[in-house]
């Protein structure tokens, strides 16, 4: 969700309730908040001594209808994970407010793809949350088509635009990167300062180290995570022969036998290359 790469310094992903006054200053942070009201408070309390890269607000079961837009967020990058847009008639003025802000709306509900398309068409950055075992619908593939071949300019659709921005012939990408799963760059940590390479790994207790100063000592564990994709080639899995592997890295491996992920990611790869050809 963070497309800013200012340095190779580690970026810590932390829940707002796990932040403490003694947190070392000057660190780059992605803060997960449980309610949007917290964002302004954190900006006020930590803005001067932390590098607040992004806020992520996961609003389970809520739609944009339930969110109040706060001007105090300013130009801070804020990503909402919402079930959907809600009733359009209730959110149309909010969508107008969100144009030209640094807010991104990610959807997870049954109408996620439709809602992302509506949102993007109104020039608001948006996207869907991809998961390795999700059902890949025709509509999702069409969303990729819309992202790269739409007839008029529109808001970014994530994680597709993020991957397009990071794409080069020499890098290996994955949708997971957009969700802050990038070993060596992002460290997800809890109140006890246990660190993991992803939020899920943190919840499951799969730590790579403990304490902010221990990062240097966990290189081996991080390297192992970084090169996990190599297993897919060594074991000659379906992913190994997929033309879109360079933008997927096996993210959809659990469902690779169905072939739908190949359709999706190939459409994405072609879209990225089309965009590059137009630049």
């Amino acid at each position: 969700m963070n497309d800013v790469r200012l340095s190779s310094d580690p970026i810590f992903v932390i829940n707002s309730e796990d932040m403490a006054a003694d947190f070392p200053s000057g660190r780059a942070l992605v803060v997960r908040v449980s309610a949007p009201q917290e964002i302004a408070d954190i900006c006020r309390d930590y803005g001067g001594r932390a590098d607040l890269r992004e806020f992520i607000c996961v609003c389970d079961g809520l739609s944009l209808e339930d969110i109040e837009i706060d001007p105090a967020w300013g130009c801070n990058k804020v990503t909402f994970v919402l079930s959907g847009l809600g009733r359009y008639a209730s959110v149309w003025n909010k969508l107008q407010q969100l144009c030209h802000t640094a807010v991104t709306l990610l959807y997870t509900g049954v109408n996620a793809v439709r809602d992302a398309r509506i949102t993007a068409s109104l020039d608001v950055d948006t996207g869907v949350v991809l998961t390795p075992d999700m059902d890949i619908s025709d509509e999702l593939i069409e969303l990729v088509t819309y992202t790269f071949y739409g007839k008029v300019a529109h808001g970014d659709v994530q994680p597709f635009c993020f991957l397009a921005d990071r794409y080069s012939n020499t890098t290996l990408l994955s949708p997971a990167l957009y969700y802050h799963v990038e070993p060596g760059l992002y460290y997800h940590l809890d109140q006890q300062r246990n660190m993991a390479v992803s939020h899920d790994a943190l919840l499951q207790g799969e730590f790579v180290c403990r304490g902010l100063d221990a990062i240097a000592g966990c290189e081996a564990a991080v390297e192992e995570q970084k090169s996990a994709w190599q297993r897919l080639l060594v074991e000659k899995t379906i992913c190994a022969s997929c033309p879109a592997f360079r933008v997927c890295s096996g993210f959809f491996e659990p469902q690779s036998d169905k072939g739908r992920c190949r359709e999706l990611m190939t459409e994405l790869l072609e879209g990225i290359e089309f965009r590059r050809s137009m630049e």
Binding site: R87, Y88, A89, W92, N93, L95, Q96, R114, R117, I118, S121, L122, E139, E142, G150, K151, V152
Partner: protein, 337 residues
């Protein structure tokens, strides 16, 4: 300006309806989806259009009508809704709440009104509710489908509900081969004379009248044309060109009466220019066969100078259907090619 059909279902069965055949053939659950609306808006916005019309069937039947209106306005386009005004109290209430902050400059509602004296009381009650609620956006449209047409109900309605002081006047045209109620070509002059006799009454109430497409210029005398020129401040035309109707399935046709003639999907067109060229060419193919309503249209100076299109094309198509098959096949069958 594209006409987008939100649904092909209707709540009325007007005797003059030129869309009846189209409505009858449509699948009942066929309604415009969000993704397709976005595609349509993108398509026309990229071509520089700034207006979209929503119609049906009855567009108020679409469950997302209010959302669609707001969305198109959000996209920076003006919306015109063509409706009978007949809807449930619940839908009207939803619409009223949703549109409460909409600027009347962004939305026009054209209410197609039949003479209440010949309409069921329940329809009249529903229309009354609608006009009371939506008067700030609304103007009237009436369809002249017979001679001895009484225009007075329009005056009464405008004054009762405080509607915009403009009436859109449509002429009922034939659906090729269906024999619907309409003004036949040889009665156009009589219709025009009746209308001109009533025009001073409209003017006395400060109401302007504008013609919909397909009225032949020669239905009016030169003196009447001068009067109409002054009445409309020169904004009068006698054209019949592709209106661009788009169904809920994204099929495109030139206008309702031509709804069965060589429809194509919007997805097949590269851009608005490509689509317009195709529809213009279809019109042209018919005009080559017969210039207009009357044999004189072929050599009429007004038509050659593009002051008049020669009336509605469907009069020509209606005639072709009864002939031996001497013309391009699609003009006889009316089916898509």
């Amino acid at each position: 300006m594209p006409n987008v059909l939100l649904t092909q279902k209707c709540v009325r069965s007007c005797p003059y309806c030129f869309a009846r055949k189209h409505m009858h053939d449509a699948p009942p659950d066929d309604i415009l989806q969000w993704e397709d609306l976005i595609y349509i808006v993108d398509f026309f916005k990229s071509g520089g259009d700034s207006n979209i019309s929503l119609l049906g069937g009855e567009p108020l039947l679409h469950p997302d009508i209010a959302d669609y209106i707001l969305y198109i306005i959000n996209r920076g386009m003006h919306v015109t809704v063509f409706t009978s005004g007949i809807t449930t109290e619940q839908r009207l209430s939803e619409l009223d709440i949703a549109l409460q902050y909409v600027d009347p400059d962004d939305l026009s509602i054209v209410v197609n009104l039949n003479d209440p004296r010949h309409s069921p009381e329940r329809e009249n009650e529903a229309i009354s509710r609608f006009l009371t609620c939506m008067s700030r956006f609304s103007c009237l449209s009436i369809n002249v489908f017979k001679l001895n047409f009484d225009y007075s109900f329009a005056l009464q309605c405008i004054n009762t509900y405080g509607l915009q002081r403009h009436v859109r006047l449509g002429l009922a045209h034939p659906i090729p081969g269906k024999g619907n109620v309409c003004i036949p070509a040889d009665k156009m002059r009589d219709m025009a004379a009746e209308f001109m006799a009533y025009l001073p009454t409209f003017e006395a109430f400060g109401i302007t009248v504008g013609f919909d497409c397909g009225v032949p210029m020669c239905a009016f005398t030169d003196a009447e044309l001068g009067r109409l020129y002054k009445h409309t401040r020169g904004m009068i035309n006698f054209s019949c060109g592709p209106a661009v109707d788009i169904g809920p399935d994204l099929m495109v046709w030139a206008c309702f009466p031509l709804g069965n003639y060589q429809k194509r999907s919007l997805l097949e067109f590269q851009d608005v220019q490509d689509m317009t060229a195709y529809l213009n060419d279809l019109h042209e193919q018919i005009r080559i066969e017969q210039g207009g309503l009357y044999p004189e249209c072929d050599s009429c100076e007004a038509r050659l100078r593009k002051l008049c299109s020669g009336g509605c094309l469907t009069h020509c198509l209606d005639k072709f259907l009864g002939e031996a098959h001497i013309r391009p096949e699609f003009l006889h069958g009316g089916e898509s090619v």
